[in-house]
């Protein structure tokens, strides 16, 4: 397994010997996965993944079904801890502190890392309260501040114009695509350090998908985004870096343009040319 070295000017691949000082890491990396393995009970789903997540860039995880890309994504906010029998080893280091989030309290990790799921899952509450939910748990009570940040999050999620006149209505009155953008707004409102998107458009029609892709492109310079997608064109359109995974291993990681035009590994080439997957 080889891993391509970044050529992007803002991003430097860390090597274990010459670690840059913490502030330099902050310039470049939001997180780094080091030799992460994961087991569902006896089944090993991730095998010693090592991967860097660029700060305020979009990193896409692609690969065939069962390759572990969603498992990897869900490790970032410790979703696996909700179910018995799951086990991690290795590190996911969050910068600038360089804390291994596998060893932190999962509830604290989730306050820092937002997530959007495959299916839209708004709470049975008003549109406003859905977006405010993450702010309330962080202790934001000031009404003005709450409504400002709800508005900002809805603008970021490109939903504000559609819902500004019905913020107090139930979220279930929205269309599927709107509900998904509402979930994105809900995840964005607390200003997460990393935003995890788990196939966010797989339940949406092409127009709703385009809207979500546009908004990801719009927020890419302000948020660190990791997106799992089945759709290679989507990864090519919206991501800065792409990681190709296969059977729990990271096969290749490169700037998106390079990975899709000059893949170095046979497995990657076969997958992106549609030979399997």
């Amino acid at each position: 397994m080889t891993q391509k070295i970044f050529h992007d000017q803002h991003v430097t691949q860390l090597s274990p010997k010459t670690e840059p000082p913490p502030h330099a890491q902050r310039e470049s990396l939001a997180a780094e996965i080091r030799k992460l393995s994961f087991w569902y009970g006896e089944t090993q789903a991730l095998k010693e993944i090592t991967l860097s997540i660029a700060y305020r860039k979009v990193t896409a995880l692609i690969g065939p079904s069962g390759c572990g890309k969603s498992t990897l994504l869900r490790s970032f906010n410790r979703m696996h801890d909700l179910y018995a029998g799951n086990r991690y080893s290795g590190e996911i280091c969050l910068f600038p502190e360089n804390h291994n989030l596998i060893e932190l309290d999962p509830f604290m990790v989730r306050l820092r890392i937002g997530m959007v799921f495959q299916k839209p899952n708004p709470f049975p509450k008003s549109i406003f309260e859905n977006v405010a939910a993450g702010l309330r748990i962080q202790g934001v009570q000031n009404k003005k501040l709450l409504s400002d940040r709800v508005e900002q999050a809805l603008r970021d999620a490109a939903l504000w114009e559609e819902v500004k006149d019905r913020l107090s209505q139930s979220a279930y009155g929205l269309s599927g695509g709107q509900q998904q953008r509402l979930c994105i707004a809900r995840a964005l409102a607390p200003q997460p350090e990393i935003l995890l998107l788990d196939e966010p458009t797989s339940a949406l029609d092409p127009i709703a998908t385009a809207k979500v892709e546009d908004l990801i492109t719009d927020i890419r310079n302000r948020f660190t985004v990791i997106i799992v997608t089945h759709n290679m064109q989507q990864a090519a359109r919206i991501s800065d870096f792409t990681a190709y995974m296969h059977l729990g291993k990271l096969i290749e990681f490169a700037p998106t343009g390079e990975l899709f035009t000059t893949p170095q590994e046979t497995l990657t080439r076969d997958y992106i040319t549609g030979r399997f997957g």
Binding site: N77, R110, M115, F117, N121, G134, C183
Partner: protein, 317 residues
């Protein structure tokens, strides 16, 4: 005109194909309508029984309402059907019914909700699968057992805390009934909570919610109408319950909302009359049916509300 590739053309008959004879078709149709008819009769019988009950209640109480005005029936505060100077204020019985059912709900709502949240959100699978059958076993206990349990054990126990408590009272039966309807309330609301998709819970956890916050802010609101329906069904059960109150709340019609006093509920009155020998066309006999109609209307109302709420909660997600 485009033609299909030869591989897609209709297959020729292989062997001797099945051709239905006329008698085969006739037998088939006959059996079909016979089976359908039997099932229709089974389904219709429940409707006819209900209609029959309504018919008996209405016709028998017609004679009653011919002599007692509806206004007196609903506003008088005395219920003395067998006295010389008979009074028929059904609110006397309704007050006891409402008080006992209210106490039952006051016990059952917090206990049932806590139990349901525990089973649905906290308990491991093995725990849940042990506790739930035990809970549903409560339903199998004969109500007469609950009645004597209340009269001989629970009321004396309460009397050590509450000095003024009468031997026959509404508090004891109400509380025991609150436990008795737990199989309805806790079990049905737990089903409603477990029907909440796990994606909704994960959304809560992903925002940093604690387990308790997920339960209270996500699961309970999402299952709200199912939970409400569970309690309304439990309530209608409590209103219709007979043996516990007949044994432990006394049989003295008493217009009172004071739980420390004894009072006859509608059901207790009906069972009391049924055990005496009343002349068939006396006004006292007919009053049983008038009281029955009131009971019927109360439980029907609750059941209908529960039905509509349950239907709504199925559509939520």
């Amino acid at each position: 005109m485009p033609t299909l590739p030869s591989s897609l053309s209709p297959a020729g008959p292989a062997g001797s194909p099945f051709r239905a004879s006329k008698s085969f078709l006739r037998r088939r149709a006959l059996w079909g309508s016979f089976a359908g008819g039997c099932l229709l009769i089974a389904a219709a019988s429940s409707v006819f029984v209900t209609l029959g009950i309504v018919y008996v209640l209405v016709t028998e109480s017609m004679g009653f309402f011919a002599q007692i005005s509806l206004l007196d029936f609903l506003t008088d505060t005395q219920w003395t059907p067998v006295f010389e100077n008979a009074h028929f204020g059904v609110m006397t019985l309704v007050s006891a019914t409402v008080t006992v059912a209210g106490i039952a709900l006051a016990v059952s709502i917090p206990a049932g909700l806590a139990l349901a949240i525990y089973l649905s959100e906290y308990a491991r699978r093995e725990v849940r699968e042990t506790v739930k059958p035990c809970l549903e076993l409560l339903e199998g206990v004969p109500t007469v057992v609950y009645g004597y349990f209340t009269l001989l054990f629970f009321t004396p126990l309460l009397q050590t805390f509450i000095p003024g408590l009468e031997g026959f009272n509404m508090l004891g039966p109400g509380m025991v009934m609150g436990i008795m309807i737990l199989p309805y309330t806790a079990s049905v609301s737990e089903d409603a909570m477990r029907a909440v998709p796990s994606g909704l819970r994960e959304a809560g956890y992903a925002l940093g919610y604690s387990r308790f916050r997920v339960a209270m802010r996500v699961v309970v609101p999402a299952a709200f109408s199912g939970i409400t329906a569970a309690f309304i069904l439990g309530m209608s059960r409590a209103v219709g319950e007979t043996m516990v109150v007949a044994i432990a709340a006394g049989q003295n019609p008493n217009f009172s909302f004071n739980p420390t006093e004894g009072a006859a509920t509608i059901t207790a009155y009906i069972v009391q009359m049924a055990m005496g020998d009343l002349p068939h066309d006396s006004i006292a006999y007919q009053s049983v049916f008038a009281a029955g109609i009131v009971l019927f209307v109360i439980t029907l109302t609750f059941n209908l509300i529960g039905f509509f709420l349950r239907r709504r909660f199925k559509e939520v997600y």
